[in-house]
């Protein structure tokens, strides 16, 4: 294989990592608080706000129900407004982030749901404020579940970022489609798939390790 080809593969790999990193970090920063909000505003929870909870739930469901490929195209004007272009890795990171936010939020909500309500009750009996309950009880107790949620999200982002290749997003998916699929180059196709597999394995192992380290259940 030519060194130009190798360079192309390396560049595509870094592009994929870049897109996953950007969208992963931003969606975690937004998605985790949103997941907490979804949980604590439920009826009977520490900041019960049934109306807000209902609205947030609907918005989250809408976000989750739009197929990624459609979302990507549909928000092109928004993407352009945000990053000034609708092609390239930065442009692909926008729909990836938008899609990942409700995804993480629901997973985090689920992780919080696993917490024994008795722990919240115990904290309340000690005079904890809702804010203290979130910071000192809910988030630390759901730490393992949140790491699991982030791992699932990152892995999903790796595969979604490959889809972004279809609209000129760059990265391994883009490379696979253009060189492997369109030009019938099975070697390139196999290499991109192999790199994606290794990447997913790597993220999953790292995630599992963090979950094990952080959870003392």
């Amino acid at each position: 294989m030519s060194s130009a080809m190798l360079e192309l593969i390396l560049e595509a790999t870094l592009d994929t990592l870049y897109m996953v990193a950007i969208s992963g970090v931003i969606s975690a920063l937004v998605g985790i608080p949103l997941g907490v909000l979804l949980y604590v505003t439920r009826p009977g929870q520490v900041l019960a706000q049934p109306v807000l909870s209902g609205v947030l739930g609907i918005v989250t469901n809408i976000g989750r129900s739009i197929p990624f490929i459609i979302l990507m195209v549909a928000i092109i004007p928004f993407t352009r407004m945000l990053v000034g272009t609708s092609i390239g890795t930065n442009a692909a990171a926008v729909p990836l982030t938008i899609a990942a936010i409700p995804f993480i939020a629901r997973l985090v909500e689920g992780a919080l749901n696993e917490i024994n309500p008795g722990l919240v009750e115990a904290a309340q009996s000690m005079g904890a404020t809702p804010w203290q309950i979130i910071l000192k009880v809910l988030l630390p107790e759901a730490r393992g579940g949140i790491f699991t949620a982030l791992t699932v999200t990152i892995v999903t982002l790796v595969s979604y970022s490959a889809m972004a290749g279809a609209v000129g997003g760059g990265g391994l998916g883009d490379l696979g489609i253009r060189y492997g699929y369109n030009r019938f180059n099975p070697t390139i196709m196999l290499i991109t798939v192999a790199i994606l597999v290794v990447m997913v394995q790597g993220f999953q192992s790292l995630g599992d390790y963090l979950v094990r380290k952080s959870d003392h259940k």
Partner: protein, 353 residues
Amino acid sequence: MIRLDNVSKTYVLKGRQGGIARTVPALKHVDFHVPAGQIHGVIGLSGAGKSTLIRCVNLLERPTTGTVTVDGRELTGLSRQALNQARHGMGMIFQHFNLLTNRTVFANVALPLELMGMPRAEIRSRITPLLELVGLADKASQYPAQLSGGQKQRVAIARALASRPKVLLCDEATSALDPQTTGSILALLRDINHKLGLTILLITHEMEVVKSICHRVSLISDGELVEEADVGDFFTAPKTRLGREFLNDFLKLEPPRALIERLEEAPGHNTHPVVRLAFRGDAVAAPLVSRLARECGVDVSILQAKVESIQERTLGLMIAELMGPAEKTREALDYLESHDLQVEVLGHVQRDA
């Protein structure tokens, strides 16, 4: 120290029936007072309202009506913020311990102090003696998952005491523990009550708990406090039927099954009364049975007997069949009653032919 005035709690159920919201009363007009330094037990069957009652004391459940006063402060009238402040003065322990799984023993005990905003150094100096008090000084850096049930409850006790509360609420604190561990936890609670002068309110369904550490006991049934007494009195002479049921169940003093089947409610032509006798104080020491035989001329067949000591008091219980002619057995019953015995006629059995 703890005072509940006319406290009622009604739960509104989801869904309506005939256009009206369905409600379930959990507590009905409860008046209740625990003086400082006392260990007060509330006993009742499950679903009687025990949990609701204890949760109303620190307002984990807000009463529908009535007022709750702890240490002279009316909690029901406080703002959220002031209530959180007041809760620092009340510790609570739970049936399932409710320790944070991702915090070490030390950090679990530190939690209430962190919530109060205490500086780290001060927290450290306060926790070490607490862990020593509950006998877990060597477990400070372990996680709850590594501890046994009894150890977890000890951590929970240390945590509840960390803010130096005046009141400790125990919600079925020993119900998930084996009898031996229960004993050691109760001993610890008694010790704390003694050393720190802490007022303890506990709810339980176990008479053993009431018997071994409570000073006073309330009996709750269907959301109402039906009986309240000193523990010694409650165990010797419960005033309500439910109280007697609890006691009999605890003492396991029931006539043999074969006899129960033969028991008839009304005396017949040829029957003997079967009685339950409870005697305390001096009566325990007196040779009543042999006197009965001598002075009333009836024979006494003892079916079951037990002597229990309940907080420096002795309680004797006996189930016996009084054998003799009807007028003699009547005389015997009068004799027993005149000697300060509590006599309950359980029924009558046919004389063996």
